[in-house]
Subunit: 174 residues, 2 copies
Amino acid sequence: MLSFSTIVALAALQTPNMNASITSTNLPKSAVDGIATTLTNLEKAWNTQDIDFYGKQLDEQCNWVNVVGMRWRGKQNVVKAHAVYFEIMFKGVPQAFQTVEIRGFTDTVAVAICTLKMAAYKTPDGRSMPANLNRMTLTMVLKGDRWLIGSAQNAIVDPVAMPFNPIADDKDGE
Amino acid sequence: MLSFSTIVALAALQTPNMNASITSTNLPKSAVDGIATTLTNLEKAWNTQDIDFYGKQLDEQCNWVNVVGMRWRGKQNVVKAHAVYFEIMFKGVPQAFQTVEIRGFTDTVAVAICTLKMAAYKTPDGRSMPANLNRMTLTMVLKGDRWLIGSAQNAIVDPVAMPFNPIADDKDGE
């Protein structure tokens, strides 16, 4: 028979919520929960390579700047680019949100700064990327009853550079 | 005597406005002009290494994620980090905004996606960075009569990766 603690652990593994610390200094719980739901969906869509579900987390006018500075204008292009990269670069490459720090700008716009763990992958130009931390700035917009990604930019946290951060609270990206 | 065309060219060089294409599909001219003023100031502050003037373009709660994924929380830390890097990395390293594409989210919040030319520099960990394009997502917030930078993330456009962009309108970052 499973022990109580095993059952609790299994339940945690099966929860639809991501295992990240999600905080906001100035938003009500309802907004934080709404943003958390969208980011949980985003993580799940990535890890199951479900491009349709990924797209459902994006606003129609969503723009995206990726880790190598490519700019994708509008949801259709953002989805197309992710679909290609799910196929040729990120197949079976999991990501896991670690921390999400949210600041509300208005009742309908907030910025979430996220830190994610990414597994190793190989880029289309043949370079091997080791497992890394990824940092992402998401401008979130409330449309109807859902918080959607209105604009995104992300970056690979460079472990060689981090010790030179002039700000002492972030010397390793964790 | 200077020809008329020479005088016009000299005047253009001396204009306080940056020489960038600034566009928005959904904001009124007054908002675009306000954001353009702030970004003109930002470019000027960078190129004159005027850290106080740089800080005046930032909202008090401004967060920044830089090209190597460092996260700086709040204007005080963003200014401190830039002050250090002005001194040890970016002294005499000019930047020039090329394009700014702005989307308004509300009357008081907009996202500006900027492409800048950066001159070559050497990083604190000893790597030589050639001249490059930089891409920057700025969430701008209207405070009183000024548009300030509320959140920023930027990246170096990687010329090796760009030809592999699945979206055809941005194969070189220009």
